[in-house]
């Protein structure tokens, strides 16, 4: 990490200015003329004129701002504040509103406001928000509050500390110098300062979470200002390609999601600012505002952005999963991936040639380790011209992909946004001819340096450019591609090696005269979108795309997976991967993972094994390595380590039915796959600041091992029910911490009592061959000998599931009886059907006393099978730790009941 290369807040004028202000030090903004228009509440915001000199308003009388409040189904308040373009003195340039992030159907869910109520003294106005909540507007000074009806206690509020400021666009006058310089780069800033800042308070909150992406050891956001905080930068949201990022820092890395959640024992709430410019966010420690008594149970935050408008969303919760779903209803849920995409991926910069690819592929078979996807990094191309192949190293790419696919395996190639400026390269030629590149401040095609040398960048903000880009992925256009090839978008922050902060100059110009500063954090989003769209079209909208992106923005979950970028092979990075991935999940990006083993450096075999053991639970499970590192395919560290890694990968494959069901749930509701403990145990304070353990769905808890040679670990198991070790079936009481021995063969993982987890205990080369394999159901009984769970299955590839072609089962165990019944999500009768001949080969009962059952009777059919002691996992030497219903052989798709006797 080169600290000097990146700006800190003090080197960023808008941040420095905003951060140095004290509460209520600015002239007040006053709200006037609240009225209802088209179902919105609209009003004007005016800053009282003051003699004090404020550099943003020097010389100009401030124009009134336009405010608009809207209310949406499910407890969402949207607040927009922008300049009033009907004002004749307003500049012609409009501020940027980020398009295509809010779901197209979001507007359909708007509630038509018909009236605004005023308080008796006329100092506030209020509108209906939901059954339980209302929004209050205080007029002077202007403040927005969301609160429970009939109470005076707000849950979220904006501008309670009077830090709201809005620098309006101005025409440059003679003699004015707005240029900003940083390390030899000059930003012309033709529209002058245009930043926005305000404070947001979360009431009843113990902690706040979210606003990725930062490398951190802590899931809860630590305060960045106020009593007890030494010096700290604010959390920066600015997509950057940071070389060797450090594992714990508020500096911005590859992606930005300006969405924050708060959580307390009683309730949760959330706040999202749709703005793609550089953002800086302070989490303020109690007492930061010199209040005589620091208010307990409130967290104040301070939001600053370089440009754009105020377009904010308040989510009322009140439960944390409600907040997540409310956010998902604005930006969408994750795109349902294909089944192969949630299995194991093998990557390296670079698998050098076809021979190398073949030998790595063969290595997995030789060692009986399953994998689903082999990846090719930048070196596979002809001189970093994407969509081409190095003819010497990869003379027969189609044949190579077909060979992999004959074993059900896919390939992923990299396609980055930097297009080589080479007249003989068709992509460059077309983009130049059509004027599809981002322009520099002078209007010429922007020319920056990246892997391909002198390069230009397609302006994917423009829908026409996205259309053009998406066509590049057709089988016809992408020579050497086959239907089993998928895509990886790297460097899309965008990374520009010779640009300011290794990125694009802020005064570069996009479609519609949008400055790069206004769009920056969403550049990668549009590029990812266009690529995913390309794969969708390639498969005639029948094959779900898989596109991994490094840069991301709010809503990127709709386009594919992301990963945490270039991490390092050390224990600290292993540890920070968990809070990073949990944070991404909370903010919609559920399908994410960190490079197994660490990208830079050579992991000790112990670290690599621990990383596989943890990474096997990441939603996106991929090993990757820098080209200077030693080879680290799973079998290169001796028999014993190979066995440990195989075991870790097998664990993931055995849990794929459970994972796939969770992915479906996430794609339907937005609730993440990997979850902080507090999402499942919202009232258990012990869990609020736990960054080392996580839940997979509702039923499994995993504790990472983050230290070399660790012999024991303290694991806090929440809730009243007990937990069963997934290693040996032993039961542990809930609601307390347990000091546990740490073993080499696995990291601690537990199934929650009261849950049923569907698994598959047969291993294959890849998921493709597992399709018809039978299921194992693991039932963990709670104190009343009951449990329940779900299983979702579809064809794993197409969109037929959207038309009803899926199997969705609900399993309930109670009174010694397991029943399987269908869950029908669709309101309309399914147009298409999915069938499966899969059976259940084994049902494992945890928590039933030995000898508690001898046989089981299956209905319909009324036939019997044996119940006997058996192991939890099928590994030589595994002892009998549970009761096993042997071969019930019921079909997974059918309704049935099994009674144990």
């Amino acid at each position: 990490w080169k600290k000097d290369e990146f700006r800190n807040c003090d080197q960023t004028p808008f941040c420095k200015r905003a951060r140095s202000r004290t509460p209520h030090s600015l002239p007040h903004f006053t709200l006037s003329d609240p009225s209802i228009s088209d179902g919105h509440l609209t009003a004007r915001l005016l800053q009282s004129i003051s003699s004090s000199d404020n550099d943003s308003a020097a010389g100009d009388a401030p124009r009134p701002l336009l405010l608009r409040l809207s209310v949406y189904q499910g407890g969402i308040l949207r607040l927009k504040i922008d300049e009033d373009h009907s004002d004749p003195s307003a500049p012609s340039k409009k501020r940027f509103e980020v398009p295509d992030v809010v779901l197209p159907d979001f507007e359909d869910r708007r509630l038509w406001l018909s009236r605004v109520s005023s308080s008796d003294d006329g100092s506030t106005s209020s509108v209906y928000l939901s059954e339980d909540f209302e929004a209050i507007l205080r007029h002077n000074p202007f403040e927005v509050q969301v609160r429970r009806k009939g109470s005076n206690d707000p849950s979220i509020s904006l501008n309670s500390h009077g830090l709201f400021d809005f620098e309006q666009l101005r025409e440059k006058k003679e003699g004015e110098d707005w240029e900003e310089r940083f390390r030899g780069h000059t930003d012309t800033r033709p529209y002058g300062p245009q930043s926005i800042s305000f404070d947001v308070s979360f009431h009843g909150a113990e902690f706040v979470y979210g606003i990725p992406e930062h490398a951190s050891n802590s899931l809860a956001l630590r305060p960045t200002r106020g009593p007890g905080v030494e010096h700290s930068e604010p959390y920066r949201l600015f997509n950057l390609d940071v070389f060797e990022y450090i594992h714990d820092s508020p500096f911005g890395i590859y992606g930005s999601i300006p969405f924050m959640l708060s959580h307390g024992v009683k309730s949760s709430s959330g706040f999202f600012w749709l703005n793609a410019a550089e953002m800086q966010i302070d989490v303020l420690a109690p007492g930061w505002d010199d209040a005589a008594a620091a208010v307990k149970g409130r967290i104040d935050t301070f939001w600053m952005s370089e440009a754009g408008i105020v377009d904010t969303f308040f989510f009322v919760g009140p439960r944390s999963k409600d907040v997540i779903q409310q956010y998902a209803s604005v930006t969408g849920t994750l795109a349902m991936p294909q089944e192969f995409a949630i299995a194991y991926h093998q990557c390296r910069w670079n698998y050098r040639d076809e021979e190398d690819v073949a030998s790595v592929d063969a290595g997995f078979d030789e060692h009986d380790i399953p994998y689903d996807v082999l990846w090719l990094d930048i070196e596979h191309t002809d001189g970093k011209r994407y969509f081409t192949w190095d003819k010497v190293l990869f003379p027969n790419p189609e044949e190579m992909q077909k060979k992999l696919f004959s074993k059900g395996r896919r390939m992923v190639t990299i396609v980055d946004p930097h297009i080589k400026r080479d007249e003989s390269y068709y992509v460059h030629k077309e983009a130049t001819d059509k004027g599809y590149y981002v322009k520099d401040a002078s209007g010429k095609d922007f020319d920056g340096w990246c892997w391909s040398g002198s390069s230009s960048y397609p302006d994917t903000l423009n829908p026409e450019v996205r259309e053009w880009w998406s066509e590049k992925f057709s089988l016809q256009n992408y020579g050497g591609s086959t239907p089993s090839l998928y895509i990886w978008n790297d460097m899309n922050e965008p990374s520009v090696f010779n640009g300011p902060e290794i990125s694009m100059p802020r005064d570069a110009l996009h479609f519609g005269g949008v400055e790069h500063r206004e769009l920056h954090n969403a550049y990668g989003y549009y590029f990812h979108m266009a690529t995913a769209d390309g794969l969708l079209k390639r498969g005639n909208v029948k094959d779900r795309p898989f596109v991994l992106s490094r840069a991301f923005f709010a809503g990127s979950q709709r386009h594919g997976a992301i990963w945490t970028g270039d991490n390092s092979a050390d224990w600290d990075h292993l540890k920070s991967s968990v809070p990073m991935i949990l944070t991404l999940g909370l903010t919609g990006m559920s399908f994410s993972g960190a490079d197994i083993g660490g990208f830079f450096g050579n992991p000790e075999p112990e670290l690599l094994v621990r990383w596989y053991q943890l990474g096997a639970y990441y939603p996106f499970f991929r090993a990757h390595a820098h080209h200077d590192t030693k080879r680290r395919e799973p079998w290169l560290f001796g028999e014993q380590k190979t066995a440990l890694i195989r075991e870790a990968i097998h664990t993931r494959y055995s849990l794929l039915p459970y994972y796939y069901s969770l992915f479906r749930k996430a794609s339907a509701s937005g609730v993440p796959i990997l979850r902080p403990l507090w999402l499942e145990f919202p009232e258990d304070k012990e869990t609020f600041d736990n960054s080392e353990a996580f839940m997979i769905g509702e039923s499994i808890l995993v504790q990472g091992i983050y230290e070399e040679g660790q012999k024991s670990v303290s694991v806090y198991l929440p809730g009243e029910q007990s937990w069963y070790s997934m290693r040996n079936g032993a039961a542990y009481a809930g609601g307390q911490a347990h000091k546990l021995d740490v073993f080499e063969d696995s990291i601690p993982s537990f199934q929650r009592a009261g849950s049923i987890v569907p698994r598959k205990y047969r291993f294959r080369r890849s998921t493709t061959q597992m399709t018809n394999d039978p299921y194992t159901l693991v039932i963990a009984l709670n104190s009343s000998l009951a449990a329940e769970g779900e299983l979702y299955i579809d064809d794993g590839r197409s969109y037929d599931f959207e038309h009803g072609a899926y199997i969705h089962r609900r399993f309930v165990f109670s009174n010694g009886r397991l029943t399987s019944s269908s869950i029908d999500l669709a309101a309309a009768p399914p147009r298409e059907k999915f069938s499966s001949s899969c059976t259940v080969e084994r049902i494992i009962l945890l928590g039933m006393r030995p000898g508690g059952a001898k046989k089981a009777v299956i209905e319909p059919g009324n036939y019997e099978t044996v119940v006997e002691p058996g192991p939890l996992v099928l590994r030589a030497g595994a002892g009998s730790v549970a009761l096993v219903i042997r071969k019930p052989d019921v079909r997974i798709a059918d309704d049935w009941t099994i009674k144990v006797l």
Binding site: E5, G184, H185, N350, C450, I502, H627, K630, R631, R764
Partner: protein, 577 residues
């Protein structure tokens, strides 16, 4: 084609040798965990976690399925392959319940395999003979070297005695000379001042002159050694130069602080002026900056062409005019060899090294190293030792006898003689000692159980792969040569895996990577020949080398046995058919 009826549950996937184990009605899991009934054998439910009860299905993850492969070699496959719709056994027996259509290909495959095995055996047969000859030669050479060493050591002892005697003599002379000088001086002080100064001048001149003569003679004797030494010096220079180059290269990694300076002031000329008139110095500095930042990830020098990204080796090449091309270089023709680095693991089997090199061209890539080709003609070589040593002894004796100790003043020419003899003899001694130590050093190495690698000591082997020539000198060092550039891949470390791998380590340091290293995997072949040099992991090289030294008789017997088995099975099969 697939059999229409399902195979017999009681033998499905079971190795015939194991059939007995499964005969009884109660079968024990091999890990002792459990007992099962015959009905549970191959019933698609894993009762034994170790896989004992499901050899013929995919139910147990740790199970193994036995394919008979009639007509070819029987194999055991992982149970994960059973009924997965991919044909793994050439007889198709693993896909008895899937949709895959697996034709029986055992006959053809078996034939091909037998043909390959036969060819391999032929090579081994020839190789075993060659190996014997080699070993005999090696042992002769070893014995000779040992004998030489013994002789050298005794010569050394004798020479040491002579030197000692001469030294004593010289010291006596020196002392006498000193006394004489002192005496003369004393006398001179008694004489007139003028005369004294003149005489002294004369004396001094004479002494100096003597010294000069001595030096001249030494030079002529040592001339060869000097040449050899200077050769060594040059090698050191080469290393120095290369490490200097590396340092220079590191020097280009500018600290962050410097980056902005470059961007601002552009002290560099662009290496590529392809931007036409628009290329202002400002823009060039931007390009430099781009390269510089890219180089963090790639570890390359910032000022090279983009297309070369990844070929860091090029950057480390330094010009070395001392490497000449006089050695025979044979282009490698072993491209089709499929065995690669991933065969490095323990399971490395001879099945994989079947592409031995019997049919390769005559030109082999080896040559004898300089020392061997141009043996030291100096008078210390063992062959002529008796004569030269005798001569020296004689001379010294004569000198010593001729010298009259009691004659004072000392005869000047006698003194010169003694000094000269002393210098000559001690320089010969030191040469002899260096020869002793190099031979001792050589003999210290481990040359294999039968000293089969002894002759490798004085040889180097080369192979050309694309633009690089790899030069491997066992027991010494290995390097990668491109044009005049030379990169050290490592110094001899040891044999590994019971003499099947030659390991070189501690080569030139890699940017952002480890020190370079090389492992050469040896296999039976009729010639000493390097092939398939590869760099599977950054700066960790691998190569294959075929050599008769690996054509071991036991292995040949094994192969023959295997072929016998295959042939027997073939006949059986024919009979069955």
């Amino acid at each position: 084609s697939r059999s229409t009826s399902l195979p017999n549950k009681e033998s499905l996937g079971i190795d015939p040798q194991d059939l007995g184990y499964y005969k009884s009605n109660v079968i024990k899991c091999k890990d002792g965990s459990k007992k099962i009934t015959k009905q549970q054998l191959n019933d698609e439910f894993c009762d034994c976690p170790d896989g004992t009860d499901e050899p013929g299905t995919s139910a147990c993850p740790e199970g193994k399925f036995y394919c008979q492969n009639v007509g070819h070699i029987p194999i055991k496959i992982f149970s994960s392959r059973v009924n997965d719709a991919i044909c793994d056994c050439c007889d198709g027996s693993d896909e008895y319940r899937s949709n895959a259509n697996c034709p029986n290909t055992c006959w053809e495959a078996g034939k091909a395999a037998r043909g390959k095995l036969k060819k391999k055996i032929e090579t081994f047969k020839e190789g075993v003979v060659l190996r014997k000859v080699e070993i005999e030669k090696a042992n002769q050479a070893y014995a000779k070297d040992e004998a030489d060493l013994a002789k050298l050591k005794s010569d050394e002892k004798m020479l040491k005695d002579l030197v000692q005697k001469l030294k004593e003599q010289k010291e006596v002379i020196d002392k006498l000379e000193e006394e004489r000088l002192k005496k003369e001086q004393d006398e001179k002080t008694l004489r007139e001042e003028k005369e004294k100064s003149m005489e002294e001048a004369t004396e001094m001149g004479e002494t100096q002159h003597d010294g000069a003569v001595n030096n001249k003679q030494d030079e002529s004797i040592d001339s060869h050694d000097i040449a050899v030494e200077s050769g060594n010096d040059n090698r050191d220079d080469r290393e120095a130069a290369s490490s200097q180059a590396v340092e220079q290269y590191i020097g280009e990694d500018l600290d962050d602080g410097d980056v902005s300076e470059i961007a601002d002031t552009s002290p560099y000329e662009s290496p590529k002026q392809d931007k036409g008139d628009s290329s202002t110095s400002e823009e060039l500095s931007r390009e430099e900056l781009g390269r510089l930042v890219a180089s963090r990830w790639t570890g390359e020098s910032a000022d090279q062409k983009t297309d070369n990204i990844g070929n860091v080796e090029e950057e480390h090449m330094d010009i070395d005019p001392l490497v000449t091309n006089e050695h025979k270089v044979s282009p490698s023709e072993t491209e089709e060899d499929g065995a690669k680095y991933n065969d490095d693991d323990d399971s490395y089997e001879d099945d994989k090294d079947e592409d031995f090199e019997e049919d390769h061209a005559d030109s082999d890539g080896s040559y004898i190293t300089d020392e061997y080709e141009n043996p030291d003609p100096a008078d210390t070589t063992v062959g002529s030792s008796s004569s030269w040593l005798d001569k020296i002894q004689l001379t010294v004796q004569n000198v010593l006898q001729a010298f009259n100790f009691f004659k004072t003043p000392v005869n000047v020419s006698d003194a010169v003689h003694i000094r000269k003899e002393y210098d000559d003899t001690s320089s010969k001694l030191s040469k002899l000692q260096s020869r002793v130590s190099s031979l001792t050093e050589k003999l210290k190495h481990d040359f294999g159980n039968e000293k089969e690698f002894y002759l490798f000591y004085d040889q180097c082997f080369e192979s050309k792969q694309n633009k690089y020539v790899y030069k491997i000198c066992p027991f010494k060092q290995a390097s990668q040569v491109e044009g005049y550039g030379n990169t050290r891949l490592g110094s001899w470390d040891k044999f590994e895996e019971s003499y099947r791998v030659m390991a070189f380590s501690g080569g030139e340091k890699c940017w952002n990577g480890p020190d370079r290293s090389l492992k050469v995997r040896l296999r039976c072949g009729l010639k000493n020949e390097i092939s398939d040099v590869d760099e599977p992991s950054r700066c960790e090289y691998t190569a294959f080398m075929s050599t008769p030294s690996l054509c071991v008789e036991e292995k040949l017997k094994e192969l023959e046995k295997k072929l016998d088995q295959m042939n027997t099975r073939e006949t059986q099969n024919r009979d069955e058919l």
